[in-house]
């Protein structure tokens, strides 16, 4: 399922122009990351896909069908949505939270629970969590439940709005790895919103760097954006200008090389480095 944003503009009732004439092609079965600072219109764009927001002008198409012609509630039930702070229903047990969409789609309780248990396994949640309430889980576990709920209706499209933004860095890396693993199996069309560059580089097949008002600063694969930032804005956003991504390697006493960034911040150790890139003297 490919998604197409065609010249979409969103002006909120208070006059805020959140997105101004934005166009993008999101290829099916890949992960497209919308990367930009807070307030640049990422969530607004994401919500246009499942009609939580209707564009003031322009259109969003899923496989060439304008979403405006689809009834919003039905549309949302076939698109997964995962958000920050998971948005789980605090009065429903984990298993019932995950079973929400199958239930809304008319599955029997038993069937929906079977599906929920399946998903708990897929996202790496212990079966013992099923009977707990969301508040009885850690932040990372709650996000897993959020992802499981997003996948439970077996949607072709998954919308993720800073889903790992509120968990600590270690857990975030773990969740990103899980998502990558799940994606290699399920191959959903994912739009993933984040303001975290490292997360974008990790997860994106395609990265869209956004400026205020949803203005596209650059679209490209992760390595294209790192190797050839289109302009100063992108370079600055990636930290390329602040020496964060210019690396040096120095030999260690015990063998191997210590890699540090342009500011001398140690990043890690490698066994060997190619001669022409070393900085040994």
């Amino acid at each position: 399922m490919a998604i197409e944003f065609r010249n979409v503009t969103k002006t909120y009732p208070d006059g805020t122009v959140a997105v101004d004439n934005f166009s993008l092609h999101v290829p099916s079965h890949t992960c497209t990351v919308l990367l930009g600072s807070s307030g640049c219109g990422k969530s607004t764009l994401l919500r246009m896909v499942n009609r939580m927001v209707d564009p003031t002008s322009g259109a969003v198409l899923i496989d060439d069908d304008d979403v405006a012609t689809t009834e919003p509630v039905a549309l949302r039930r076939r698109i997964g949505y995962v958000m920050q702070d998971s948005g789980l229903l605090p009065h429903r047990r984990v298993v019932d939270n995950i079973a929400t969409v199958p239930r809304l789609n008319g599955a029997s309780k038993a069937e929906a629970h079977r599906r929920a248990n399946e998903l708990m396994e897929i996202v790496g949640l212990d079966a013992a969590m099923a009977r707990r309430y969301p508040r009885q889980l850690s932040g990372g576990q709650q996000q897993r439940v959020g992802v499981a709920r997003g996948l439970a209706g077996d949607p072709n499209i998954l919308l993720m709005d800073e889903p790992f933004g509120a968990v600590d860095p270690l857990v975030r890396v773990e969740l990103q790895r899980e998502l990558q693993r799940i994606q290699t199996e399920l191959r959903k069309t994912i739009i993933f919103v984040t303001h975290d560059i490292d997360e974008a580089l990790t997860l994106g097949d395609q990265i869209v760097v956004l400026k205020k008002g949803g203005e596209v600063a650059q679209i490209g694969k992760p390595q294209e954006i790192v190797e050839a930032p289109a302009n100063d804005f992108v370079a600055q956003f990636l930290g390329l200008d602040s020496a964060r991504r210019s690396l040096n390697a120095a030999p260690r006493d015990g063998g191997g090389w210590l890699v540090s960034d342009g500011r001398g911040r140690p990043l890690g150790v490698v066994d060997t480095v190619p001669d022409q890139h070393t900085d040994t003297d």
């Binding site: 939580m52 509630v73 949505y81 958000m83 948005g87 229903l89 605090p90 309430y133 508040r135 209706g153």
Partner: protein
């Protein structure tokens, strides 16, 4: 105590009569207040007007209301329907604000998420917003329950039978134990009903006492 034992059948009757007045009024206050509160929250500019307006009803003196209402309703002063309507009005005065605040307090993220996963607006209200407002609604209902139980007694002055009659009779005939029993039993009844509400709340909202976020 001895007086209570000697008058047990009458006290039982009066307690039942008391409940027959209070319970329908408490239930009606709740069932009417929730839709009013919902509507008031939807039409934002009117919210404060509706909520404060109904709140002001509580300032209406109870005895005159018991007397004026029959004229409007076309019922007799001693008609229980009249008393129940009056009690419901006082219940609404407390419950509309409680319910409006309770429904308003439902987390915006949870609302957004339930819309995003595909709840229709009506389903979202009944399966998400109403249950999540439950603990705050219950808190409001408990106040209404206690207030109604105590207000019922006022209607005894008009001759409507309730535990308040123990007080009015005792006063007329100078039976101190009857007055004391009227006061104590009203308080006990209010307490029992409150405990019952709390117990029901725990039963139907087990999630509310779980963990913290």
């Amino acid at each position: 105590m001895e007086w209570i034992l000697n008058n047990l059948p009458r006290i039982t009757d009066l307690t039942l009569a008391h409940l027959m007045l209070a319970l329908p009024a408490v239930a009606a206050s709740f069932l009417i207040a929730v839709p009013i509160a919902w509507a008031a929250n939807r039409v934002r500019p009117l919210r404060e007007v509706v909520v404060s307006g109904t709140g002001l009803l509580y300032a209406v003196p109870s005895l005159p209301l018991f007397i004026v209402l029959p004229i409007l309703l076309g019922t007799g002063v001693r008609d229980t329907f009249n008393v129940i309507v009056a009690l419901t009005i006082f219940g609404l005065a407390l419950m509309v604000r409680s319910a409006a605040d309770a429904l308003d307090s439902v987390d915006a993220g949870v609302r957004l998420a339930s819309t995003a996963v595909g709840y229709s607006p009506a389903m979202r209200f009944f399966s998400v917003e109403l249950p999540l407002a439950g603990p705050a609604l219950l808190a409001g209902l408990r106040v209404v329950s206690v207030s109604t139980i105590s207000l019922v007694s006022v209607s005894a002055v008009l001759g409507v039978q309730s535990l308040g009659s123990l007080f009015t009779d005792g006063f007329e005939r100078a039976i101190i134990p009857s007055i004391a029993a009227g006061i104590v039993l009203t308080a006990v009844l209010a307490l029992l009903l409150d405990l019952l509400l709390v117990a029901v709340g725990r039963l139907i909202m087990p999630w509310a006492r779980v963990g913290q976020s």
